[in-house]
């Protein structure tokens, strides 16, 4: 009997390790032959720990499991969820980037290859750098970290830049609240990231890669490091990548708890061993990046999507999506929701469908008040905007952004003035301090919102003015986009900002 138990940290946080030991212990006590395979997560976090039992080649789900459910599971008397891939939340998805996540043991390279892994890299090895870059351009892939810059154009710049050493840097500093796609893929299918980085290396002529991985993800660090060791031992990395005669090797660099290091130039400074302050652009990292050399800096999901593009072809990938948003996006549904988790889907699904149908509304059962999309720098969107299709330009048109595609749902108990205050407070804590609008503006922002809370209505205009200064004058997205949640909260929920002096006293 084959039993699959996730080792993803969300599953572990909900007790997966205890369930896995109970299964091993129970099987031994009963004298039955059970193989426990630890996988990544399918992304249905409300069902975690989600245990799967394979029967006649079909995996049946049981969850959320507790150790107390294990005897019934082993006796075959436990009520299950049916075939996992027929659970509506899963069946509705288009899994390209996350095709293997939750299916295989993340550190089993043979299982990886048996499920389509390495096909893309082998194809890329037979291509020239320019052909690889063109394939990425044709796929329409855009940066999944938030900015949405076309990945192929970035690669082209690095490809064309002459240098004796170039680098591929993976931005795994996934600090946005409500996002966990990077963590899930690193914990659940690390070889896809390694393969994507190797393809990027072949494309632009870079022989060294780094993954800048946040320290808040100890499980992801462990899995990635082990995957690198296996990749090196099996010839996926090293002086002769899969017998191609070309070199690519990589290293994990652990961050140190600074949110701003998710900004690419501050990330590069941090990797160089400096304070993680933002660099002014130009020069672009593609021209002068890590140690002043041409560097591709891509998000985890951008790089982890590259293998499937080469496995199935650019056109296959580009056939999904809406407008200029091609392919799929792993949407992460979080906060106060009935069914939270990772939902990979083609661009274009309306926001409301994600919140109401896919996620089933709030966990508290109360009405949805606000949805923050794109992390702490994303706008708070009210239910009136739920028609907005999930795509880059469409969200931009609503004064929002999709960012790294985190969707955080709040019910009607949320106080939007407090959320706006938190956005400023967070910016003040995490500001790198290089530019004044962000460093000072965020502190003044907290004070100004406190004045509004005390009933000083005149402070509202001041807040708008301050936000304009931060938007126009900040060097990077932290100071530049903090006004998004602040102003959207004030615009969409004026009642929360209309505090009378008496009420405050």
């Amino acid at each position: 009997m084959k039993v699959y138990v996730p080792r993803d940290s969300a599953a572990k946080a909900l007790g997966a390790d205890a369930v896995a030991s109970a299964i091993a212990y129970g099987a031994e006590a009963r004298g039955i032959d059970v193989t426990v395979i630890r996988t990544g997560s399918r992304g249905m976090v409300w069902l975690e720990p989600l245990v799967e039992v394979e029967r006649d080649g079909v995996r049946h789900g049981y969850g959320p499991m507790t150790p107390a459910d294990v005897p019934a599971l082993l006796d075959g008397t436990l009520d299950g969820l049916g075939p996992v891939e027929e659970i509506p939340f899963f069946a509705r998805q288009t899994r390209l980037t996350f095709a293997r996540c939750g299916v295989i043991d993340p550190l089993d390279l043979d299982a990886y290859a048996a499920h389509g892994g390495l096909v893309g890299l082998r194809r890329a090895i037979a291509m020239t750098g320019q052909q690889i870059v063109d394939e990425v351009k044709d796929s329409g892939l855009r940066g999944r970290g938030g900015a949405g810059f076309p990945t192929g154009i970035k690669w082209q710049t690095v490809h064309d830049a002459p240098a004796d050493q170039k680098y591929i840097v993976c931005n795994a500093d996934e600090g946005d609240s409500g996002t966990f796609a990077d963590r899930m893929i690193m914990e659940g299918d690390p070889f896809t990231l390694i393969e994507g980085m190797a393809i990027a290396g072949l494309a632009v002529g870079a022989t060294r890669g780094y993954v800048y991985l946040r320290s808040e993800y100890p499980d992801a660090i462990t899995v990635m490091q082990e995957a690198l060791r296996i990749g090196r031992a099996r010839g996926l990395l090293g002086a002769d990548v899969l017998g191609s005669g070309r070199a690519f090797d990589m290293e994990i660099r652990v961050g140190a708890g600074a949110y701003v290091c998710g900004e690419e130039t501050s990330l590069l400074n941090s990797m160089e061993g400096k304070r993680g302050v933002v660099r002014a652009k130009p020069p672009l990292p593609a021209i002068e990046g890590f140690l002043g050399r041409p560097t591709v800096v891509n998000n985890v999901i951008s790089l982890a999507t590259v293998p499937v593009i080469f496995e199935r072809g650019a056109q296959h990938y580009a056939d999904f999506g809406l407008g200029r948003s091609r392919g799929t996006m792993p949407v992460q549904i979080a906060g106060n929701v009935k069914r939270g988790g990772l939902f990979e889907t083609a661009f274009g699904l309306p926001l409301g469908e994600l919140v109401e149908d896919v996620a089933g509304g709030t966990a508290s059962g109360r009405p949805v008040k606000a949805v923050q999309v794109g992390g702490p720098l994303g706008a708070y969107m009210p239910p009136e905007t739920f028609e907005t299709p999930f795509a880059y330009e469409e969200f931009d048109g609503q004064g929002g952004l999709i960012g790294h595609a985190g969707v955080v749902v709040f019910d009607d108990t949320a106080d939007m003035l407090q959320m706006a205050r938190f956005a400023m407070e967070f910016c003040a804590v995490e500001s790198c301090g290089k530019c004044t609008p962000c460093r000072i503006g965020a502190v003044r922002g907290v004070e100004t919102i406190d004045r509004i809370a005390e009933g000083d209505a005149a402070a509202k205009d001041l807040l708008v003015d301050l936000c304009d200064t931060m938007t126009d004058g900040s060097l990077c997205a932290l100071g530049g986009l903090t006004p998004y949640p602040v102003l959207s909260a004030m615009r969409n929920y004026p009642e929360d900002f209309a505090r009378s002096k008496e009420a405050a006293e």
Binding site: G175, D176, S177, F180, R183, A258, G273, R275, G335, V408
Partner: protein
């Protein structure tokens, strides 16, 4: 700890990271792992090894939340303060835990058992409120599960 022991450990750490491109953060992480904090006496040694000024080393240490100049409790409890956890009662949980321990953010209990720190996202946003005790993650955390993890 004697100066000699510190110097010896530091020399071993420097050797481990020799030849890395941008060795500063890996070195500081190793120091944290070895000592639980970054002893003041380690700063000039790092500066010497990397051939930079002490002020520069201090600047890097003070920039990052993870690097501490002072020892912390035997357990480090991190509670997520970010938006997704706030949407499911994270702020109330933090307050209750801090009150119970009689601490403010960053504080350590007098018996040296636990230090409480804020964290901005553990990537457990679909099962918040989230917390972490040392390297162990807790989803749908409440006062009881946090207390159990600290026991």
């Amino acid at each position: 700890m004697s100066d000699a022991a510190l110097t010896e450990t530091m020399a071993e750490i420097f050797a481990r990271h020799r030849g890395r491109e941008g060795p500063m953060l890996p070195i500081l992480h190793s120091v944290m792992e070895a000592f639980g904090h970054i002893p003041e006496a380690a700063v000039p040694l790092i500066a010497d090894d990397l051939n930079i000024g002490r002020a520069e080393v201090h600047g890097v240490i003070s920039f990052y939340h993870d690097f501490r100049k002072e020892p912390v409790g035997r357990h480090v409890l991190k509670i997520c303060r970010a938006e997704a956890c706030q949407a499911v009662g994270g702020a109330a949980l933090s307050q209750a835990v801090l009150d119970k321990l009689g601490l403010d953010w960053g504080g350590t209990t007098p018996d040296g058992r636990v230090t409480v720190e804020p964290v901005y996202c553990l990537g457990l946003c679909a099962c918040g409120p989230a917390a972490m005790v040392d390297d162990r993650v807790i989803g749908r955390a409440d006062e009881t599960t946090i207390e159990e993890a600290l026991a």
